[in-house]
Symmetry: D2
Subunit: 102 residues, 4 copies
């Protein structure tokens, strides 16, 4: 399905369980993986990373790579939350969503 | 990465925005898509569908198919939440998680 | 605001960070707190607890008590996700939501 | 339970179902309610609002007020997601979380 110019906006939050109270080195690794993915725009917030992409599959691939990278660091259990907002009646980017409500 | 016997457990909740207050026919379609996917175990709850699979990628493919199916029904905006719990130090299934806490 | 017969349906998932890979004893404690709350119906799923109540405030109080109980057990960091579905055009209970989609 | 200097960090995302594909006027109203609450720090992101407060109960009250305000605008069904990150071994603010991972 082609979606000329439509962008999927997502939010991703990941952490290992049982690797200590501070998990920032795992989040940094996950971010490194997200940055390697082609065509994603990223915005780090205090609770998650916002992702904008042309296709959902690009987001899913990047999230999967981030997830696997935490196991390679030694994590035994990894949880994540991915929220997707996909709108195809109107072109918009990350910034447009913030602008519309502030 | 092989994970002998380890199962990923996930939770998936999806709905269109702007297609009326009742969205059950969209959820039914999403469930139909999840059921078409090979190797998934599903449990419908009042707030989501719990999914168990051998690999994260099987879950991501099924979720993507469910998401696209809502657009084919005419939805213009679709939101979903996917939560993943992936544990690789211990074999367990959906039922084990409930049993451990009740 | 009175909502004669309308019920709020929610989903709650909680865990401590840094208290080991297995967190079931914390979930059990959180469930004990939820059960103490008056007027809640609960359903434990492999990924969360579904809560039905007459008012949102009843859910929020119970969730807060569950959250604090994990710190009393010694947790230093606690994360939770609460999803709310509040519909006021139609009376329904937990079971109705499942029935509508299966 | 007193938590001298410890701050709870949260993320809140709300929308009505069945009130059209664009829901920004509802989000604006929810934000107006959050801003009325005393003692909250807010950051609007493309997918949610990050909230920092001294106590969980301050966040829960504000979220409840935001939720009710959407029904007063005429919404018949309102869904929200609230994610909480409460850490009590270390003082930190919103900005510290971003700084730790970037």
């Amino acid at each position: 399905m082609t979606r000329k110019g439509y962008r999927v906006i997502a939010e991703f939050s990941i952490h290992p369980l049982g690797e200590g109270t501070s998990v920032s080195r795992y989040i940094r690794r996950a971010l490194t993986e997200l940055k390697k993915a082609k065509g994603l725009r990223l915005q780090v917030t205090p609770m998650a990373t916002v992702i904008e992409a042309e296709k959902l599959s690009d987001i899913l691939s990047a999230v999967k790579a981030a997830h696997e990278s935490l196991f390679r660091m030694g994590a035994k259990r990894v949880d994540f939350v991915l929220r997707i907002d996909d709108r195809r009646d109107k072109q918009r980017r990350m910034e447009d969503k913030v602008r519309a409500v502030t």
